[in-house]
C-alpha cells in the first residue's frame, strides 16, 4: 500500500492530435485538500474524467487508495467511494431535490430487484433509511427545506450545494469538485470554503478540486498542482505556487511575468486575470 488517497503516474490522454493530459504524475495524501489549477484548456476536467473512469487513459497508472482503477467503468469507480461534481452542473433537473440525493444513495440501498417489484417490508426499510440519510445531507448543506422542490427550480448556488450533497450520498472517501465556486459571489465563496473545510473533518474526506478563483485556491488548499497544455508545470504549497514564475507566465503570458503577484487575494481581479491568461495562452484550447 502506498498510503496515498490518489496516486497518478505518467497519465496520458490524447484526443486525436491533441494531448489533453500529458505524462501527469501526482499524489494526494488522505485528508488533504488538493487543488488542480491551470488556464482554460489545460486538461483539468479531462484529468477528472480520467480519475472517474469517464475517459480511459492511453497510458499511465491511476491508483485510488492503492488500488489500480484504470479500465474501470464510472459506476465502478463511484462504488469505490469517489464522489464528484461537474463543472456545468449536471443535476437530474426533473427529479426533486430529495430524489437527486437518493440517486446518489443507489449503491447503499440494498434492495434486490424482486423485492423492489413487490415493495417488501425490507425494501421499505431500506428506502426509509436512505431517505433519512439523504435528508441529513440536505440539512448539512443547508437546503433541507427545498427537499420536495424540482431540482431545476433551485437557485444557482443551491444547485451547486445539491450537487455536493448528491456526491456525498455515496459516502465517498474521495470528493472531486470541478469548479465549485464558479458563478458564486465573494460571500458565497467564503461560505463554500468553510463548508469544504468542515466536510473534510466531519466526513473524513480527501478533497481534490479544480478552481479558477485564486483567492479560494490559495487559502483553502494544502497543496496545489498547476497544469498547462496537459502537463504539470508546478506542484507545491500555495506559497510556493504563488511565487513560481512559470505559473505567473502561464496565467498572464510571458510578457507580464515581471508584474508578479499572480495570486492577489481579490477574487474580482483574479477572474479577469484568468481571462487574460486565457487570451495569452491562446488558441490552444479551441
Amino acid at each position: 500500500m502506498s498510503g496515498y488517497a490518489v496516486e497518478v503516474k505518467n497519465l496520458t490522454k490524447r484526443f486525436g492530435g491533441l494531448i489533453a493530459v500529458n505524462e501527469v504524475s501526482m499524489s494526494v495524501k488522505p485528508g488533504e485538500i488538493f487543488s488542480v489549477i491551470g488556464p482554460n484548456g489545460a486538461g483539468k476536467t479531462t484529468f477528472f474524467n480520467l480519475l472517474t473512469g469517464i475517459n480511459k487513459p492511453d497510458s499511465g497508472n491511476l491508483l485510488l487508495d492503492g488500488r489500480d482503477v484504470v479500465g474501470l467503468a464510472p459506476e465502478q469507480v463511484a462504488a469505490r467511494g469517489v464522489g464528484r461534481t461537474f463543472q456545468n452542473i449536471r443535476l437530474f433537473g426533473a427529479m426533486t431535490v430529495l430524489e437527486n440525493v437518493l440517486v446518489g444513495r443507489y449503491v447503499h440501498i440494498r434492495t434486490p430487484y424482486p423485492s423492489a417489484l413487490a415493495r417488501t417490508p425490507g425494501c421499505r426499510r431500506e428506502e426509509k433509511k436512505a431517505a433519512e440519510r439523504s435528508l441529513e445531507l440536505l440539512d448539512y448543506m443547508g437546503i433541507a427545506s427545498r427537499a420536495g422542490e424540482l431540482a431545476r427550480n433551485l437557485s444557482y448556488g443551491e444547485q451547486r450545494r445539491l450537487e455536493i450533497a448528491r456526491a456525498l450520498a455515496l459516502d465517498p472517501r474521495l470528493l472531486l469538485l470541478d469548479e465549485p465556486a464558479a458563478g458564486m459571489n465573494p460571500q458565497e465563496t467564503e461560505e463554500l470554503k468553510k463548508l469544504i473545510r468542515a466536510l473534510r473533518t466531519d466526513m473524513d474526506l480527501t478533497v481534490v478540486l479544480i478552481e479558477h478563483d485564486m483567492s479560494m485556491v490559495m487559502s483553502i488548499s494544502d497543496r496545489i498542482v498547476v497544469l498547462q497544455f496537459g502537463s504539470v508545470i508546478a506542484e507545491g504549497l500555495p506559497a510556493e505556487i504563488r511565487a513560481n514564475t512559470k505559473v505567473i507566465e502561464a496565467y498572464l503570458g510571458s510578457g507580464a511575468a515581471a508584474g508578479g503577484g499572480a495570486a492577489s487575494s481579490d477574487p474580482a481581479t483574479t477572474e479577469s486575470r484568468a481571462a487574460a491568461g486565457n487570451g495569452a495562452t491562446g488558441e490552444h484550447h479551441a
Binding site: G41, A78, R90, A94, Y113, A118, A182
Partner: protein
C-alpha cells in the same frame, strides 16, 4: 364574490346537463338512446374541464356512470356508452382531490358491474374490453422500457409472440409434431405457463439486451426493430424441417383453463352464464387482475431505487454512472421487466383467442403499442392505459363501425346533396384508413401535445427544461475546456 358566483353558475350548468341527460333517458322511448349518450359525453367533458366543487364533480360522475350503464339496455349501439365509461375512469384518475374510497367505489362499479353488463348485452364489447386490457398491460410494460428508462424498443411484439407461442404450442396438439407426450396440456396449466412465459421472455430480453443495450437511441431502435421481425419470421418458417410453430397457418385450438368453479361461483351470486359469455367474462376478469398486478409493480418500481436509476440514466447518463448506477445492468432490468409483462399477456391472448398465428405479431403491432405509450404520455401509467383504450377503440371499433354505417347508407340508396352514396368507390371505405387516422393522431399529438394526453410529472418538467435552456448556455459558455 364574482368568482364564487361564476362557480355557482358552472355548477348549475353541470347539474342541468346531467339532469337533462337523465330526462333524455327517461324519455327513451321517444328519443333514441344515442341522444342520451351524446348529452352524457358533453356532461362528462364539462365535469372534466370545468372548475366545479368536488362533490358536484363526483356526483355527476356517479350519475353519468348510471346513465351510461343504463344506455346498454337501450336499442342504441353500446359504443358511445362504452367510451363514456372509459372517459369517467380517466376523469376519476385525474381528480386528485377525490377521497380514495369514492374513486374505488365508482371505479369498481364501472369495471366490475357496468362493463360486464355491457358485455352481456353485446359480446363485442367484451371482446373490446379484453383487447383494451391486453394492450393496456402491454403498454404499461413498454412504458417501463420507453417511458421510464428511455430505451426506444421498436420490437416489443417479439415478446408478446414468444409468450403466445409458449402456450400455443404446448396448450394445443401442435407439440405432438416434434415431441412425445400428452398434448394438449390441461388448460389449467395456462397459469403455470404464464409464469414460464414471464421467465422465458425476461431471459430472452436479457440475452438480446446484453449486446443491444450498449447501443444508444436510434441504434437500439433499429436493433429491436430487427428483433421483432426475426421472431415473426421464425414463427412463420419454423414449420419445417421440424414443425414447431405450424408456420403461417398458425396453431389452433389452444386450450383454455377449466372454469367450472367460475361459473358456479357466479351463479351462486345470481349471475347465470351461458356458453357465449362465460369465457369472455372469465378472461375479462383475468385481464383486470393482471392489469392490477402490473399497475402495482409499475408504481413500486417507480418509487424504488431502480425507478430512480432509470430516470437518472434517461436524463444524464454520465451523471448517473458517476453516482454509481451500473448502466447496462439497470437498462437490462427495464428491458427484461417490459418483456416479461408482454410474455404473460401473450399467454392470455393465445388462450382467449384459442388461436396463434404469425400475422398477429407484425411490426405494425409493435408501433401501435409504442403509439399507445406516446399518445398517453411517456412514463405515465394512467397515460399508457388511456393510450391503449383510445387506440384500440379507434382501431377495432370506431372506424369499423363507421364503415358499416356507411355501407348501410350505401345499400339503402341514400342521397346526400344530390350525390348517390351507392356510387361511392369502395376505396373510400373508412376501415381501410385505420392506419392513416392512427398516423394523423400521432402527428397531431407530437405537434400540439408532445408530452402525451396524461403526461408524467417528470416528463413534463423535462419538456419545460428543454424550452428554456438559458441557464445551461450561460454555464457552458463559462470555463469551456477540453
Amino acid at each position: 364574490m364574482t368568482g364564487s358566483l361564476k362557480k355557482m353558475k358552472t355548477e348549475t350548468a353541470l347539474i342541468a346537463v346531467c339532469a337533462a341527460d337523465l330526462v333524455a333517458f327517461a324519455a327513451l322511448k321517444v328519443s333514441p338512446g344515442f341522444f342520451a349518450g351524446i348529452i352524457g359525453i358533453l356532461a362528462l367533458v364539462m365535469t372534466g374541464y370545468l372548475p366545479v366543487k368536488l362533490q358536484a364533480k363526483l356526483g355527476s360522475l356517479a350519475v353519468l356512470t348510471l346513465v351510461f350503464t343504463l344506455g346498454f339496455a337501450s336499442k342504441a349501439s353500446g359504443d358511445i356508452f362504452f367510451i363514456g365509461l372509459i372517459g369517467i375512469l380517466v376523469v376519476l384518475i385525474r381528480t386528485d382531490r377525490a377521497p380514495v374510497w369514492t374513486k374505488v367505489l365508482i371505479g369498481a362499479a364501472i369495471l366490475l358491474a357496468s362493463i360486464p353488463f355491457a358485455g352481456f348485452k353485446d359480446t363485442f364489447l367484451f371482446e373490446l374490453a379484453i383487447q383494451i386490457g391486453i394492450f393496456a398491460a402491454m403498454a404499461m410494460g413498454l412504458n417501463v422500457v420507453v417511458g421510464m428508462a428511455g430505451l426506444l424498443d421498436m420490437g416489443y411484439t417479439a415478446f408478446f409472440a414468444i409468450g403466445a407461442y409458449t402456450w400455443g404450442i404446448f396448450g394445443s396438439p401442435q407439440a405432438h409434431s416434434f415431441m412425445a407426450g400428452h398434448f394438449p396440456l390441461n388448460g389449467n396449466l395456462m397459469f403455470l405457463f404464464m409464469g414460464l412465459a414471464v421467465l422465458a421472455t425476461a431471459l430472452t430480453g436479457i440475452i438480446i439486451g446484453l449486446p443491444a443495450l450498449r447501443l444508444r437511441g436510434d441504434y437500439l431502435a433499429i436493433v429491436t426493430l430487427g428483433l421483432g421481425e426475426v421472431i415473426r419470421v421464425l414463427a412463420n418458417n419454423m414449420d419445417h424441417p421440424v414443425n414447431i410453430t405450424n408456420g403461417p397457418q398458425g396453431i389452433t385450438p389452444v386450450s383454455r383453463p377449466d372454469i367450472g368453479w367460475f361459473r358456479s361461483a357466479l351463479s351462486a351470486i345470481g349471475v347465470p352464464l351461458d356458453a357465449r359469455t362465460d369465457y369472455q367474462l372469465f378472461f375479462y376478469f383475468l385481464v383486470l387482475l393482471v392489469i392490477g398486478i402490473v399497475i402495482v409493480v409499475n408504481i413500486n418500481l417507480g418509487k424504488s431505487k431502480f425507478g430512480r436509476a432509470w430516470v437518472a440514466i434517461r436524463e444524464d447518463e454520465i451523471a448517473a454512472r458517476s453516482m454509481g448506477i451500473p448502466m447496462i445492468k439497470t437498462k437490462l432490468y427495464a428491458f427484461a421487466t417490459g418483456a416479461a409483462f408482454s410474455g404473460a399477456m401473450g399467454v392470455i391472448f393465445a388462450a382467449q383467442r384459442t388461436f396463434v398465428s404469425p400475422e398477429t405479431f407484425t411490426m405494425l403491432q409493435s408501433t401501435t403499442i409504442l403509439g399507445m405509450v406516446v399518445l398517453g404520455g411517456m412514463g405515465s401509467i394512467e397515460g399508457a392505459i388511456l393510450g391503449a383504450a383510445s387506440l384500440t377503440i379507434l382501431n377495432i371499433d370506431l372506424l369499423k363501425g363507421f364503415s358499416e354505417y356507411l355501407n348501410e347508407l350505401k345499400q339503402g340508396g341514400t342521397v346526400i346533396f344530390g350525390y348517390h352514396l351507392s356510387s361511392l368507390p369502395s376505396q373510400l371505405d373508412p376501415a381501410k384508413y385505420e392506419r392513416l387516422v392512427f398516423g394523423l393522431v400521432i402527428i397531431f399529438m407530437m405537434i400540439f401535445r408532445p408530452t402525451g394526453l396524461l403526461p408524467e410529472r417528470r416528463r413534463k418538467a423535462e419538456e419545460a427544461e428543454d424550452d428554456d435552456d438559458i441557464p445551461e448556455i450561460t454555464e457552458t459558455g463559462k470555463g469551456g475546456q477540453s
